[in-house]
């Protein structure tokens, strides 16, 4: 009886339209900003995926191999990749700057490696870590938020305090400690061993940090939903909770989750680069955009491009992700769209 009642009292879609995804997609593709963002993201992802091709065929280099005493021929002139300074007292060694050629397009870093090739490989690591962290954050944060918002009471209090702990947690301490612990034998979680170089480690930390960003809006929305007429009616009719969650709550929050995903990924990319500052995450000689920035900051005064390039790529990627998130939100709820 309750089952049948549940079927009858299916939750109406919030925007009143007959379907959710159809009109949304239409609005999305009409939005030029969103298209631009999507294209840009795709281009970046593809370029990074093609990193091995670039390294082998274009730059002809191994971007993880130190090349401090290497030499390169430009316009017939052979030059060391890391050159001694000859002015004044002749102190200091400077990597070559951007050559504009296939080899060392953006110059070399302090180990004599090709920055452009590392940038592409770095993108793979940064995007992968951020994506995994985002997935983690969405799953965990979504679950926490929905449970806290729906059940209220003690569960809500406990989970909200848990979120407080996560929010206020000394992430950097955890990061530093984990980086030292994981040095020798890796992190042991029962039968599971995570090597210190495994990108899963930073993804885990960053994912945890991002949980409140998802849980809070989820909780707020679900709390409001919980008090809406159709949910109250369903409860009144004795519809079992899992069914209510599945049929009434989930479809209505899925839009918010979708909007949150790219925004969360943007935040996670920034967190990843900040954690690279503290040597947790991708271990040398592997690269992520954050570690290249860190290398570049040590070269800021002589070869600023090494720090500028990854910063700009992070900015472009995060920008596209944010644009996409905004466009998704606009497409989902036309009331928020710009007035024509």
């Amino acid at each position: 009886m309750a089952e049948a009642a549940g079927d009858i009292i299916a939750a109406p879609r919030q925007d009143g339209a007959p379907g959710l995804w159809g009109p949304m997609l239409r609005r999305l593709t009409a939005d030029r900003g969103a298209l631009l963002a999507a294209v840009l993201l795709l281009a970046i992802a593809l370029a990074c995926a093609a990193a091995p091709l670039y390294a082998v065929h274009v730059a002809q280099t191994d971007p993880f191999h130190s090349n401090i005493n290497g030499e390169i021929t430009i316009d017939g002139v052979q030059r060391p990749v890391i050159e001694a300074n000859t002015e004044g007292l002749g102190l200091g060694q400077t990597p070559i700057g951007p050559t504009g050629r296939a080899q060392y397009l953006l110059g070399a870093d302090s180990q004599g490696r090709d920055v452009a090739a590392r940038l592409l490989y770095g993108g793979r690591a940064s995007l992968l870590i951020s994506a995994v962290a985002t997935l983690l954050g969405m799953l965990l944060g979504g679950t926490l938020g929905i449970v806290a918002g729906y059940f209220g009471g003690v569960a809500d209090a406990v989970l909200s305090r848990l979120l407080d702990v996560l929010w206020a947690f000394p992430v950097y301490l955890l990061a530093i400690s984990m980086s030292i612990v994981a040095v020798g034998s890796g992190l042991h979680l029962g039968p599971l061993v995570i090597e210190s170089s495994n990108p899963l480690l930073p993804a885990l930390i960053i994912g945890l940090v991002g949980v409140p960003y998802v849980a809070r809006p989820m909780r707020a929305q679900v709390r409001a939903l919980r008090k809406s007429e159709f949910v109250l009616a369903a409860i009144g009719f004795g519809v079992p909770t899992p069914r209510i969650l599945r049929v009434d709550i989930l479809p209505n929050v899925s839009g918010t989750l979708l909007v949150l995903a790219p925004l969360l990924m943007a935040i996670n990319m920034l967190t990843e680069s900040a954690l690279s500052f503290l040597s947790i995450g991708v271990q040398p000689p592997a690269a992520s955009w954050g570690t290249i920035i860190q290398d570049g900051l040590a070269l800021l005064y002589t070869r600023p491009l090494v720090a500028l390039a990854p910063g700009v790529t992070i900015m472009l990627t995060v920008l596209s992700l944010n644009l996409l998130g905004e466009a998704l939100r606009d497409a989902l709820d036309p009331r928020l769209a710009r007035r024509r």
């Binding site: 305090r161 206020a168 947690f169 800021l300 005064y301 910063g311 472009l316």
Partner: protein, 323 residues
């Protein structure tokens, strides 16, 4: 009214206690965190090492050490650092507080002002060039890693263009107390506050803009328009007032986190000896007493800000209030 307040207070203390225990556990789980050898000096004989451990109480069982640490931090307030022997920790916190407050306060002024300006301008004519331009600018703002931006600002203002009239006024990195030199204090904080505010201007201008636009759809706005009020008046007076609610609560959370030491990377890049830098240095040197103190300080502000915001929400919006 009092009961939920007390309950919330109890929860706050519980959260902070939980954080302190986890911090303590993480510290002692980290190999190489034992400061005895560092303090004893290189190539110290085993006897010297043992003597140092004894004098720091590091040979006591962990729960005892935890209890002593908490007591010294909160009750007797005579907690001393591991790295710098004899240096009291609590006065360090208090000395660093005005620096962080100045930085975060200045940034807050900038970002609230900037967000209001950009958000309102953008919402006035949504969809037009100004709106799109400002929003892209805002997006750029929230897409830059703050320590990277700070390093670039330093590169330009301290080194590359330091000689030019544009930046010759830029003082050396570091902090000048307001009591010592008000004008110097202002100059020292200008660029760091600006750097810190960039992210938040971007974020808040967007939040404000979408909140304003959403408010515009509300029924009472339609009523006001029907009554014949000008668009500008509607926007500035009515819509703004409702939108400010969400902005204010967001502001409370962010400000709380920053005051507690969230501006860590900005302080490090600009050499400002605030709470963030104190935390960062303590983490680098694995100085447990200072780590514990700064973590407690930070978590207090975050938890308190959360509680305040939740209570504010319950107060303003009856729909959200618990039955």
């Amino acid at each position: 009214m009092i009961r939920p307040l007390l309950a919330r207070l109890a929860q706050m203390i519980f959260v902070m206690a939980g954080i302190s225990v986890v911090t303590f556990a993480i510290f002692f789980a980290t190999p190489g965190a034992d400061p005895s050898a560092r303090i004893a000096g290189r190539n110290a004989s085993p006897e010297t090492l043992a003597a140092v451990r004894l004098s720091f109480g590091l040979n006591r069982p962990l729960p005892v050490q935890y209890g002593l640490l908490m007591k010294r931090l909160f009750v007797t307030q005579d907690l001393t650092s591991f790295m710098n022997r004899g240096e009291l920790v609590v006065p360090q916190i208090f000395a660093a507080t005005p620096v962080t407050l100045s930085l975060v306060g200045g940034a807050a002024l900038l970002w609230v002002g900037g967000a209001l300006l950009f958000g309102v301008l953008a919402a006035l004519r949504p969809g037009r060039m100004l709106d799109r331009g400002l929003m892209v600018l805002g997006l750029v703002g929230i897409s830059m890693p703050v320590y990277w931006l700070g390093a670039v600002v330093n590169l330009v203002t301290q080194s590359r263009l330091h000689e030019t009239w544009l930046f010759s006024w830029v003082p050396p990195l570091g902090y000048v107390a307001f009591a010592d030199d008000p004008w110097g204090w202002f100059k020292v904080l200008l660029l760091p506050s600006f750097t810190l505010s960039v992210f938040y201007i971007g974020l808040y201008s967007r939040v404000l803009r979408s909140a304003l636009i959403e408010a515009h759809q509300e029924d009472y706005i339609r009523t006001a328009r029907a009554k014949g009020l000008s668009e500008r008046r509607i926007l500035l007076v009515h819509a703004l007032r409702m939108s400010l609610v969400s902005v204010v609560t967001l502001f409370g959370l962010d400000f709380g986190a920053l005051v507690g030491g969230g501006a860590l990377l900005t302080e490090v890049v600009f050499g400002l000896p605030g709470i963030g830098k104190l935390t960062y240095d303590a983490l680098q040197t694995l100085d447990l007493p200072v780590i514990m103190a700064t973590v407690m300080y930070a978590s207090f502000f975050v938890v308190a800000a959360n509680a305040l915001v939740d209570m504010l929400y319950a107060f303003i919006d009856p729909r959200v209030r618990d039955a």
